[in-house]
């Protein structure tokens, strides 16, 4: 019997293998057959929602340490903050664990009334002391790689990135837990007292007061984030966090994400509870039936969660995610831009985003099972940075001969504004948006992004113009550049196709003008790229930024005086000029006045051609049509508050 069956089976397998071989790699064409003939979509599990992202990369669930959007997806749903955004608005706030707040006339004191009757997941009551403890503990735990620097600046002054700098302003103790413990006990106590003074509470009055060192425009935006989450003090202490005593805080300072006692423990007041977290695989949230909220944050948004179980899964392979979407096992999946042509045929409902109304307008076009949200601007951007004064110590392989002899560039090559302008004019923005961003992006004006206080849609921006590029090249270095040409290397980190495309556009356009304008493209592994960029050794680097806060300061600061300005080795007089403007912007609490300051910053950025400001991608998100209740707020992106969602 077995023998009789063996040959037909083997034969069939061979035929099948031949057929499969003929199919080749899974091209969109090959997939279309499956889409139209085989796919079934069933909302088999209406009480469970499954989000499938590109990977499960949570570093920690300690709100004081988490600095990743993956962590936010959990923390923003299991914890609450004092305030939250008013639905889709990126500039208005509504009460959350605070019922209201007052700001002093000088903009330096914020007093919040704390909501009564709120319970943590373990049943304990929320008190103003819990609120104060949450902020104090985070700041005292420190860590320059944590989000706590977003508090130390408003609490203690500009340029203070860590609590240890209250003891050693030079930063010598930053992140060095053992060295900090050696500091004089009086100094340690003094630093702790400064933190306590910055965040005060009054249980009897039911209030918490923040005393800032300087007026801080983005303060509400700062505390509305995951690092503004409120912990239960007793629970935190019981689980090994700071005991609340100024005599011991140094023992809790400088923890790493792995040694944080709250790395994998959660006890919030939020609409969902953490059921399980399997690092590298998935997080599972379950509904909190006792959540305190009764009123929606804005009209048309649900006030209470209805989906009982949220599964946040990481699947690195696109084909697998696509199969899960087709099988109906995934409600939402991350779709790489290069694969949208595979998914688009499955879309039956199209929702277009309007910047004016900050909402989607949906149109049903067919019976296909997916809904596509598109057109909403992202909160990240890729720019091209030119280093004003290159570090050539010990030799620099990226500058050729190191001289303006046609075979290299001098270290201060980009100090000449004509060179920087030439690079801007020689960059084809339209080609970039078409080739690298599938035509779905908007060129920005200046360092800010659209939809933000102070951003002007009609603000100044460079346009691709080869004639002007030539003119600037002729003016640069008193005509020497035009006469001799140049040779330099443009770097991006390996594997980043968008950045690679940008370098190719620049290379091609300069080569079109004349073969003596030579840009050599170099792909560096991420660690090397990071090191070389940081040490100001790359003449031209392509890099990106994802905002922490949806506030102009979070863009103006890194691009004009912080991270990127440092890597570009900006001249001191220029840095001083921007510093004055950026500080004026952050200290202003009146939004109208802030807007004017940032418009001026944009103008100055343009005139000095500091960098090639890129384009903001307009996002796409594919959902099963049985899902509902979604609204888009750029600061939360697609990792939203799940309590507003519904599933039929």
């Amino acid at each position: 019997m077995f023998k009789k069956l063996l040959w037909p089976v083997i034969g069939l397998l061979i035929v099948a293998s031949m057929v499969l071989s003929a199919c080749g790699t899974p091209t969109p064409e090959a997939t279309k057959v499956i889409e139209t003939k085989e796919v079934k979509f069933n909302a088999a599990t209406p009480n469970t929602m499954v989000f499938v992202s590109i990977g499960e990369n949570i570093d920690t669930l300690d709100p004081a340490w988490n600095y990743e959007s993956d962590g936010d997806a959990v923390i923003l749903n299991v914890y609450d903050q004092l305030v939250t955004y008013k639905g889709a608005s990126a500039t208005e706030f509504v009460p959350a664990l605070a019922t209201g707040w007052n700001v002093s006339a000088d903009g330096k004191t914020y007093t919040f009334d704390i909501r009564k009757g709120v319970k943590f997941h373990d049943g304990a009551d929320l008190t103003p002391e819990d609120v104060a403890y949450s902020f104090r503990r985070g700041v005292l735990q420190g860590g320059t790689n944590s989000p706590q620097w977003l508090y130390t600046e408003p609490f203690f002054g500009i340029g203070i990135y860590d609590v240890a700098e209250l003891i050693d302003p030079e930063g010598g103790l930053d992140d060095d837990a053992e060295a900090l413990k050696e500091a004089a006990s009086a100094k340690l106590a003094e630093a702790c007292q400064m933190v306590l003074d910055a965040v005060e509470f009054d249980n009897a009055a039911g209030t918490v007061t923040f005393n800032l060192a300087t007026p801080w425009g983005p303060f509400l935006a700062t505390i509305a984030q995951s690092w503004g989450s409120i912990l239960d003090k007793d629970w935190a202490i019981k689980n090994g966090a700071w005991d609340g005593d100024c005599a011991t805080w140094q023992n809790y300072y400088g923890v790493t994400s792995e040694t944080s006692p709250l790395r994998d423990k959660v006890n919030g007041t939020g609409p969902y509870k953490l059921d399980s977290w399997t690092p590298g695989e998935e997080k599972i949230l379950v509904i909190n039936p006792n959540w305190w909220r009764t009123e929606p944050v804005d009209a048309g948004i649900a006030a209470k969660p209805t989906i009982e179980r949220i599964v946040l899964k990481g699947v690195s392979e696109w084909g697998t995610r696509f199969a899960m979407l087709q099988a109906g096992d995934a409600d939402v999946v991350s779709v790489p831009r290069g694969n949208i042509s595979q998914v688009d045929p499955l879309v039956g409902e199209f929702c277009e985003y309007s910047l004016d109304t900050a909402s989607f307008d949906c149109t049903v076009k067919s019976e296909q099972p997916l809904r596509l949200f598109r057109g909403a601007p992202d909160v990240s951007r890729t720019d091209v940075f030119m280093t004003f004064d290159l570090n050539v110590e010990g030799g620099n392989p990226y500058v050729g001969s190191g001289q303006l002899d046609g075979n290299g560039i001098p270290p201060d090559f980009f100090n000449d504004i004509h060179i920087r302008k030439a690079f801007n004019y020689c960059f084809d923005f339209d080609a970039y948006i078409q080739d690298a961003l599938a035509g779905e992006a908007v060129q920005v004006s200046g360092p800010l992004i659209p939809g933000m206080i102070g951003y002007d849609n009609d603000g100044p921006k460079y346009a691709f113009d080869m004639d002007k590029c030539k003119e600037e090249l002729k003016l640069a270095w008193d005509g020497q550049v035009w006469e001799k040409g140049f040779r330099l290397q443009v770097a991006y980190n390996t594997g980043n196709v968008t950045r690679q495309t940008i370098t190719q556009i620049l290379q091609n356009n300069f080569a079109t003008i004349d073969g003596k304008f030579r840009l050599e493209i170099i792909a560096l592994p991420w660690p090397t790229y990071l090191a070389e960029f940081r040490n100001s050794r790359l003449p031209v680097a392509v890099s990106g930024w994802i905002e922490d806060l949806h506030d102009p300061h979070n863009w103006a600061q890194p691009f004009l005086i912080g991270t990127y300005a440092g890597r570009q080795n900006m001249p001191k007089e220029m840095w001083d000029m921007f510093n004055e403007l950026v500080m004026a912007g952050v200290a202003e609490t009146d939004n109208a006045k802030r807007a004017e300051i940032y418009k001026h910053i944009t103008q100055v950025d343009y005139e000095n051609a500091i960098a090639i400001r890129g384009a903001v991608v307009t996002t796409r998100s594919y959902w099963q049509r049985w899902m509902g209740g979604y609204y888009y707020n750029p600061i939360y992106g697609w990792d939203s508050h799940y309590y507003t969602l519904t599933k039929q």
Partner: protein, 371 residues
């Protein structure tokens, strides 16, 4: 000259002791080599592991280098990995110093890329790889042997040609593409065999306090908990990975078996057996096959080690949480601690597998001596 059973057992025991004693030195040597290679990178380059994007403020990288001691001399860093480091705690006038970490203190360290202690990572991932191995090893090896024998016995006949073509196609088929095609057909299309290790409903049961995880092998634990539904669900998730592994790896086993069988079938003692009037089936099964299996034993050992260490592509395509994908991620992100732990673990498996293979040699072929 035949060896007495007592002598054989003694020499085997000596052999095993010698190999086991060598293990720690071998592993330390390998880890030291890898450690030194990674130390060729600058501290800033190694700090990239802790920074997933552009540093958010100017002090970040210095802080990381300081916090993790990346600027320390290499021997100090290696020593710290071996024996841990000291942590001081002060409370008033009382200062206590304790040593934490170090592999010799049983702490494999913390995996940045997996966001959990390495020991927890291995404890979760290894059972998954072991379970997949248990269900794959028989189809992979036995299927390959069966096809190899058919090819040899039907040498140069249609069956032989078909088997060879089948093997060549399997060997040359990109495993990634084959896996995706199966997934599209049997999951996205038919909905039969989903990716992952277990369905969400079954996972909910497994995570509940009523379910006892005795072995961390889901199929076995399901049976021990009398949950046939979970057993079947776990099996359902392994069907496509096992088919993919089997089809792609049969080629190698069948080629080795076929050539070994062909050589054996040409031996004089096979001719003698046939001349004695033994049936062809008896000749093949009892005389030829056992002798032809020697190279297959070696190959089988390698196959098991490969499966236990994890198969990156299979794990990636089928989202199966085994060892391979975690190790690959750690290596690609320069996660020194995790890479070293995987080196230790895989090295241990390799050495043990070699010992087992050598012992199997001795049993399969009495002429082999282990002394």
């Amino acid at each position: 000259m035949s060896l007495s059973p007592a002598f054989r057992e003694e020499s085997m025991l000596n052999y095993i002791i010698r190999r086991v004693v060598m293990v720690p030195f071998l592993l330390i040597g390998v880890t030291l080599l890898i450690f030194l290679m990674l130390m060729a990178l600058t501290p800033v380059e190694r700090s990239a592991l802790y920074v997933r994007d552009v540093p958010r403020n100017e002090r970040v990288l210095e802080g990381i280098i300081k916090k993790y001691g990346l600027n320390d001399p290499w021997h100090k860093q290696y020593w710290r990995w071996l024996f841990g480091t000291t942590v001081t705690t002060t409370e008033g006038d009382v200062t206590t110093v304790e040593r934490v970490g170090g592999i010799f203190r049983g702490d494999l360290g913390y995996s940045r890329t997996a966001s959990q202690p390495v020991a927890e990572l291995l404890a979760r991932r290894f059972p998954a790889s072991l379970e997949l191995t248990l269900y794959s090893v028989l189809p992979v090896i036995a299927g390959g042997i069966l096809l190899g024998v058919i090819g040899a016995v039907r040498h140069n006949k249609p069956a032989d040609h078909i088997v060879r073509v089948f093997g060549i196609v399997g060997w040359s088929f990109p495993d990634f593409v084959f896996g995706l095609l199966l997934l599209m057909a049997f999951y996205a299309g038919a909905g039969w065999f989903p990716p992952g290790r277990i369905s969400d409903w079954a996972n909910k049961v497994i995570m509940s306090p009523e379910f006892h995880n005795y072995t961390k092998l889901i199929t076995i634990d399901a049976l021990l908990n009398l949950r046939v539904d979970i057993f079947l669900d776990a099996l359902r998730h392994m069907v496509l990975p096992v088919i993919t592994l089997a089809y792609l790896w049969w080629a190698l086993t069948l080629r080795v078996t076929r050539s070994s069988m062909l050589e054996t079938l040409r031996q004089d003692y096979i001719t003698t057996a046939r001349a004695k009037g033994l049936s062809e089936r008896t000749v093949i099964r009892q005389h030829a096959l056992p002798n032809a299996l020697m190279p297959v034993v070696t190959l089988g050992g390698g196959t098991v080690v490969g499966l236990l260490s994890g198969v990156v592509i299979i794990e990636t395509v089928y989202n199966y949480p085994g060892m391979g994908a975690a190790a690959a991620k750690a290596a690609s992100q320069l996660d020194v601690i995790t890479v070293l732990a995987f080196v230790l673990f895989n090295g241990l498996i390799l050495v043990l597998a070699n010992v087992v293979v050598d012992i199997l040699y001795a049993y399969v072929d009495p002429r082999v001596r282990l002394d």
